[in-house]
């Protein structure tokens, strides 16, 4: 079988990374003026835009819960995001599954009980797809929710990990994904280490699972560090700007 060599004898992958290396993560928050919170995140060539609206009054009053907020996630991939142009369909089952996964992930973390009868909308748009769309979406949504000032118990960081011939590979790109590599998406709360999402759609031998998950956990820790850096840097800039206007910085209030 003319299978692509995903890991060379020298231990390098198709894009030149080592097995336990992430792609470059860069992010920016507050990129959309109209949304209550927003973020743009790149993980290598996978690019996501996340917008958060709310907590606001429920669009459908019948859906409102009297004791907590509902979270609504919309996940779309741009027609131009993949190598082959693919028009977006309204009820794409694959997309709906991703929406449910992301919604459940954030319902476990967002402090919904302090926003009764409200709705929080998370819109996720893939601008460019190069593998690991779900993990990128979760990371972008975390940043957007923090930017929106929505109360969360912790960051949610997500990471994918694959396994090629017994060697776990961190953060698969599209080429590695499309070779039928078993791939796990893991989302954790980095401070408590709790797992909020774990998902795999192929088979992996039990003996390889622990090592693979260990690497996924390490990846999550790295991503957490990176996201935290982004949040704190933008916070410092904000405090600096506020400080220029008033000498007594009493709170970080933004218009």
């Amino acid at each position: 079988m003319g299978r692509l060599e995903l890991l060379s004898p020298e231990g390098l992958r198709v894009d030149g990374r080592r097995a336990n290396e992430l792609r470059k993560v860069s992010a920016k928050t507050g990129v959309l003026a109209q949304a209550d919170g927003s973020a743009y995140l790149e993980m290598g060539n996978t690019k996501v835009l996340a917008a958060v609206y709310g907590p606001r009054e429920c669009r459908m009053r019948s859906q409102a819960l009297h004791d907590r907020a509902i979270i609504n996630v919309e996940f779309t991939q741009a027609t131009f995001s993949r190598i082959e142009r693919r028009p977006t369909r309204k009820f794409d089952r694959k997309n709906m599954e991703v929406q449910l996964q992301i919604r459940d992930t954030f319902e476990a973390v967002v402090d919904t009980t302090i926003y009764p009868r409200s709705q929080i909308d998370i819109y996720l748009q893939i601008m460019q797809a190069d593998g690991g769309q779900v993990q990128a979406c979760i990371n972008a949504a975390t940043l957007a929710l923090i930017n929106a000032g929505v109360a969360m118990r912790d960051y949610v960081v997500a990471c994918t990990v694959g396994n090629v011939d017994g060697t776990p590979l961190l953060d698969l790109n599209h080429i590695e994904e499309s070779q039928g590599t078993p791939e796990i998406t893991l989302a954790t709360l980095p401070r408590s280490g709790n797992v909020v999402l774990i998902q795999m759609e192929s088979r992996l031998h039990m003996d390889k699972l622990e090592k693979t998950l260990q690497l996924a956990n390490d990846g999550c820790a790295q991503i957490h560090e990176r996201l935290d850096e982004v949040v704190r840097k933008e916070l410092r800039d904000l405090v600096h700007k506020v400080g220029q206007h008033s000498n007594t910085v009493r709170g970080v209030s933004t218009a």
């Binding site: 929505v150 709360l189 704190r232 405090v239 709170g251 970080v252």
Partner: protein
């Protein structure tokens, strides 16, 4: 700089038994932990002051301010613009039913003699209502019309709790007037 800035999930300190949880925090394994980005409050009670934007949604008992959109013989439909002192992002719809206009002689109330479209009204939320609107009440002295324009277009002056007078034409119109507490100037 003296203020400490925290991010969600960051530990603020151990929880004391006498402590009540403040906004922007939660309890995890005996520790108080931040849930939003913000500055830690300076007082003894640990709290996190994040973005100064709470979800402004009417609750039962809240005082709201709104504009009368339209009236009919049974109710006045109000567009709620403020909840307490906080402006809302997008207006909510509220309804003042004829029986909730005033506290006495409820059966003699006629809506056109109490509200006109365009009036600014202060009211209280008495129920969250059904599908579309909140049920409001003005059956208190300190609730009712706080601003109204006469047919001539001038801002009317309240002359009793039931009447307002136009300063231009001297015409007297009926309103359920709000008694505004004395503000020393």
């Amino acid at each position: 700089m003296s203020t400490r800035i925290v991010v969600p999930g960051e530990r603020l300190g151990p929880a004391r038994p006498d402590q009540t949880l403040q906004a922007g925090t939660y309890l995890r394994g005996g520790n108080v932990v931040a849930t939003v980005v913000g500055a830690v409050g300076a007082d003894d009670q640990v709290s996190v002051q994040g973005k100064s934007r709470k979800a402004a949604i009417p609750t039962v008992g809240a005082q709201v301010t709104g504009k009368v959109k339209r009236i009919n013989s049974r109710m006045a439909i109000v567009s709620i613009m403020m909840i307490g002192a906080q402006p809302v992002k997008e207006d909510f719809e509220g309804v003042i039913r004829v029986e909730n206009v005033r506290a006495t002689e409820r059966d003699k109330v006629q809506i056109p003699k109490c509200f006109r479209p365009g009036d600014i009204v202060r009211a209280e939320v008495i129920s969250l209502g059904e599908a579309h609107s909140y049920i409001l009440s003005t059956a208190k002295n300190e609730l009712g019309v706080i601003f109204a324009q006469s047919a001539a277009g001038a801002t009317m002056i309240p002359i009793s709790w039931e009447e307002m007078q136009c300063p231009v034409t001297g015409a007297i119109e009926n309103r359920k007037v709000c008694q505004i507490e004395n503000t020393s100037q």
